[in-house]
Symmetry: C2
């Protein structure tokens, strides 16, 4: 079945969405079938993949609360997205979801799997992956998480096997890491023993800036092999692409940002043993 | 009494903490007595004001939940801080706070005011503002909000009269604004009719970058006078200062970032009628 990867860091603005969108796109361009689920009420990943704000119905909220699974196409054939909108804030604020355990997403994905397996056994002709292909027909499912440690992020941690942590090369960004690791540890022992940190990704690195260099040196010294070799440089093309509703790998495939995300896609593939 | 100002934007990494810390410092250096309350479990503002992680007890969590009011000194005489630590996450996750209405902070501030007024009437010798000066002896109280629209941010919106919205000159940053304004509107009509948007602050502006210029032009065209004339430039000194545990206005008072925050402090003072 599909491997579920969460892209998360409670610190804001560190490149979670930029990483989720461009890693998904790089894998899709390499032939993998990818589903991105946007779990941020701001809906930045949905925008970055070209889904207009008024076209986000049904959304991730409908999937988590009612199991309505309706991925939408993006400009890339192999990349589908379940968009997000402001109704996701209801999960944080309104009953019954406010009191629900953090496994809404995990259960919605599981229920879908069971339904499809039942149907596949009946018809044996599943063959061609339909637009709303069931989760097990995707190679990878990527979850873009909002900032903070709300229940939207814990839902992602409960459903995921792997966690990619983008880390901006800035001083404040280092602070939140220990809280994040603590949260992962406590969820691993309570609800999801499969969850493990896939790697830490240095983002917005600027070789001319001594603070950036210092943060990178510090993180590599402390985290060693958990830090990806690939570093994402600060590159304005990465921040321009969303205004055109496409990943940077499509908007400008040879810019330094796109090349870095393609290198990251390959590095993660190798680290996972070529899968 | 003190004017309470929240610095908030659900979008992450837009300069909320950098603005709260440096605006507070600029006002303190100009002679105002300022209290900063850190409402972010990451505790970045506490770090930026030099409070070591193991010295944050009692914290904002203790103030919101038990009324324990113990501001700490900073390197600036007129600037005090109530630090934050990871226990603030409990307000989002654990009972009874998870189900509490969003007025924990407002009620804690009110209770304090009543107690001091009672005591002042009894002793008449309040005179010298003690380190834990009651809220009404501060000119301004500044609230640094976490990213997202959790109950920590709504607590700030319930307690505050003014709201400053830092807006990074980036495409994704524009997306969340309408949700933020909607949230403000609904809280204004339900719990806090005094809340009004003081202004939108453009941050990390980069004159050499056409996207940054375009975002600034767009925001001024749509928001008009709500946008401060002062723009905060991208300036690495602003991101270096926190690693020294001090505001940039102290770390490097003549860098472009510090000068911009001092200009902002004056502009807001003028807009509020010299107060
Ligand atoms: N390597 C980069 N170079 C230049 N700009 C970047 C880079 N990565 C991200 N950005 C820009 O920086 C801003 C923050 O990135 P992004 O929105 O991806 O972070 P995030 O962690 O998802 O934020 P949030 O916490 O709000 O979800 C965006 O405007 C984005 O376009
Ligand atoms: N004008 C600026 N120039 C350069 N760097 C800046 C500027 N303003 C903020 N920064 C840096 O950018 C990063 C994000 O800023 P900051 O942490 O203040 O944003 P925030 O909105 O408080 O983030 P969060 O959403 O996580 O609370 C920090 O590392 C900070 O040092
Ligand atoms: Mg994001
Ligand atoms: Mg902050």
């Amino acid at each position: 079945g599909a491997r579920i990867t969460a892209v998360a860091n409670q610190k804001g603005g560190v490149g979670k969405t930029t990483t989720a969108v461009n890693l998904a796109a790089a894998w899709a361009e390499a032939g993998k079938k990818i589903l991105l689920i946007d779990l941020d009420p701001q809906g930045n990943a949905s925008t970055g993949l070209g889904i207009a704000p008024q076209k986000r119905n049904p959304s991730a909220f409908d999937f988590l609360t009612q199991g309505v699974f309706a991925p939408q196409r993006t400009l890339l054939d192999n990349l589908w997205v379940i968009p997000a909108s402001r109704d996701l804030n209801k999960i944080l604020r309104e009953k019954p979801w406010r009191d629900a355990p953090d496994n809404l997403l995990r259960d919605a994905l599981k229920a879908l799997l069971l339904e499809k397996e039942k149907r596949a056994a009946e018809t044996k002709s599943e063959g061609e992956a339909s637009p709303a292909a069931p989760p097990h027909l995707y190679d990878d499912i990527i979850l873009d998480c909002p900032p903070g440690l709300s229940s939207l992020t814990s839902n992602a941690f409960c459903a995921a096997r792997s966690l990619i942590v983008p880390l901006q090369c800035e001083f404040y960004a280092l602070e939140g890491l220990s809280q994040l690791f603590q949260t992962v540890e406590s969820l691993r022992s309570s609800v999801n023993p499969d969850l493990r940190i896939d790697g830490i990704l240095l983002t917005m690195a600027d070789g001319r800036n001594s603070l950036s260099e210092q943060v990178e040196a510090d993180v590599r010294a402390h985290m060693g092999a958990q830090v990806y070799k690939t570093v994402i440089p600060r590159n304005v093309r990465l921040s321009e692409a969303p205004s055109h509703g496409m990943p940077a790998t499509l908007y400008d495939s040879s810019c330094s940002g796109s090349l870095a995300y393609k290198a990251l896609a390959e590095e993660i593939g190798r680290r996972r043993g070529g899968r």
